[in-house]
């Protein structure tokens, strides 16, 4: 694998992550607990869709096969998507959504802070822009974790259940493969073990503050690096891609 191929894979994965997660967050439209939160959640969805466009169009450029961002989004099947399993899980209840946002934003904060220093200028530029959104998402979800964790016994219980369900998907966020080594040695990406250490510290400290226990499990789910997903992704893509696939001749 060349460095160019490795970079394509890496950027594509970032694009898939944003696209699939943005899709999930957009499902909250008209369903939030209050109107203000409806706007906040669709705003987050919008940020991720915007990010998906930036990464996918860059991936298309790196690939050089004259595919567009939409070709990559709408014309690949479920075994060709490389987002982490965590982001494709259904939205669940509000506690699940906020817990996932918090775990993810904490991870993204360190990831994109690193990538903002990447030797690949374009990747660094996108990361720089993304980091501002991530700060807002992180603060928003942290504030909700405080409210839910310290609010009522019902909200505390729901939040605990959400963390219990999500925890086995967290490890996968930090997985790396041989192509990441290639990019790391070129100064394009950074050490995931270090990111995992600071992430763990941050997440533990916030969850401790609100009396949420982290499940004791050494087992974790994996597969996305090979394009092996949960059953949920196929349905998500069927919905997302339906028009483009049903009318292959049409331009929209």
């Amino acid at each position: 694998m060349t460095r160019q191929d490795a970079l394509f894979n890496y950027v594509l994965k970032l694009g898939d992550q944003s696209l699939v997660y943005g899709h999930r967050m957009s499902e909250w439209c008209s369903k939030a607990p209050m109107l203000e939160e409806d706007l906040a959640l669709t705003n987050i969805a919008l940020d991720y869709i915007g990010r998906a466009r930036a990464f996918l169009s860059y991936a298309a450029e790196l690939e050089g096969k004259s595919r567009s961002e939409d070709d990559l989004a709408y014309k690949r099947g479920e075994r060709e998507f490389y987002n982490n399993l965590m982001v494709e899980l259904p939205i669940g209840d509000f506690a699940f959504t906020m817990a996932r946002q918090f775990l993810l934003s904490s991870y993204e904060y360190f990831l994109f802070t690193g990538l903002a220093q990447s030797k690949d200028e374009k990747l660094a530029a996108i990361a720089n822009k993304v980091i501002k959104e991530v700060r807002y998402h992180w603060t928003h979800s942290r504030d909700w974790l405080m409210r839910l964790g310290l609010g009522t016994s019902v909200s505390h219980e729901k939040l605990q259940r959400a963390i219990d369900e999500l925890w086995i998907y967290t490890d996968e966020l930090f997985e790396t493969g041989p192509e990441d080594q290639l990019l790391k040695s070129a100064g394009i990406v950074f050490n995931m073990d270090e990111i995992k250490t600071v992430w763990t510290e941050l997440v533990h400290s916030i969850l401790k503050e609100i009396d949420i226990t982290i499940p004791e499990t050494t087992f974790s789910q994996t597969g996305s690096r090979l394009g092996i997903h949960t059953e949920h992704l196929g349905h998500l893509l069927a919905e997302m891609q339906y028009l483009v696939r049903a009318y292959p001749e049409a331009r929209w």
Binding site: C29, P33, M34, L35, L39, G50, G151, E239, L243
Partner: protein, 310 residues
Amino acid sequence: MDVLIAGTSFQDKIDHDINIEPKDVMPDEYRTHLIRQISQHAHSEVIGMQPEGNWITRAPSLRAKQILLAKIQDEGGHGLYLYSAAETLGISRDEMIRQLHEGKARYSNIFNYPALTWADIGAIGWLVDGAAIVNQVSLQKTSYGPYARAMVRICKEESFHQRQGYEIMAHMMDGTADQKQMAQDAVNRWWWPALMMFGPHDSDSPHSGAAFRWKIKNKSNDELRRKFIDKTVPQAEVIGLRIPDPDLKWNEMKQSYDHGKINWEEFRQVINGNGPCNRQRMQHHVKYHEEGRWVREAAEAYKNRLKQSN
């Protein structure tokens, strides 16, 4: 000057086009009329998120998805401004939502129709937002200050809504046979309900007398409807869409279009709960309002906890 204005009676202010503000003296009927109208307007923005929201996850390009999401988000924002405007009249948002759920407050009839294909997203932006703009532009001069100011903010965003809808239609009319057929079908289904958005003919409009005297309204239903038709028909022609009204004709004398008969029986049926989506829209709103209760309670409990620890 302030002293002079403070001493002026309600109707004097109205007659001199001075806005009525929340703390001013106003007749109970004026207040009630406005609460009914503004809350209905707010609920319409919010319920309107449902038919369009139905297509976010299926938007056929990432750009289209972004535009649609941003558009729906605007509508939610309009709902917020309008709830706040109504709150200045002494009613809470909780109370307005309760009235909506109990069927005492209404929302625009148009959202009781289904968004069936992607072309409906175009038709809604072009025709439904297009009709709403005509109405809202005239409301920028309404006599109640907070309502008028909310309208000014809203109108700035609405023209983008209308344009994005028209762009979708234009794109589809420039596309494959399937796309053209889809676009025409959407216009066939949305045209008449869009005309009904302006309400009954002036000759059978029950509330309009006082609304005119108080300058809440300054143009009649039929005037606004005519404005909408006159601006929309040429737009349809440009992209090759047919308006589904065989009696539609340019009237040289009036310099305006004459239109065919509106099916007011359908209008009455939909208003009385028998539209294709009335139950679905209400059930959706109630369901998610109920499901969100524990979240609102947690937020409230947390706020109290912070207060106590201070």
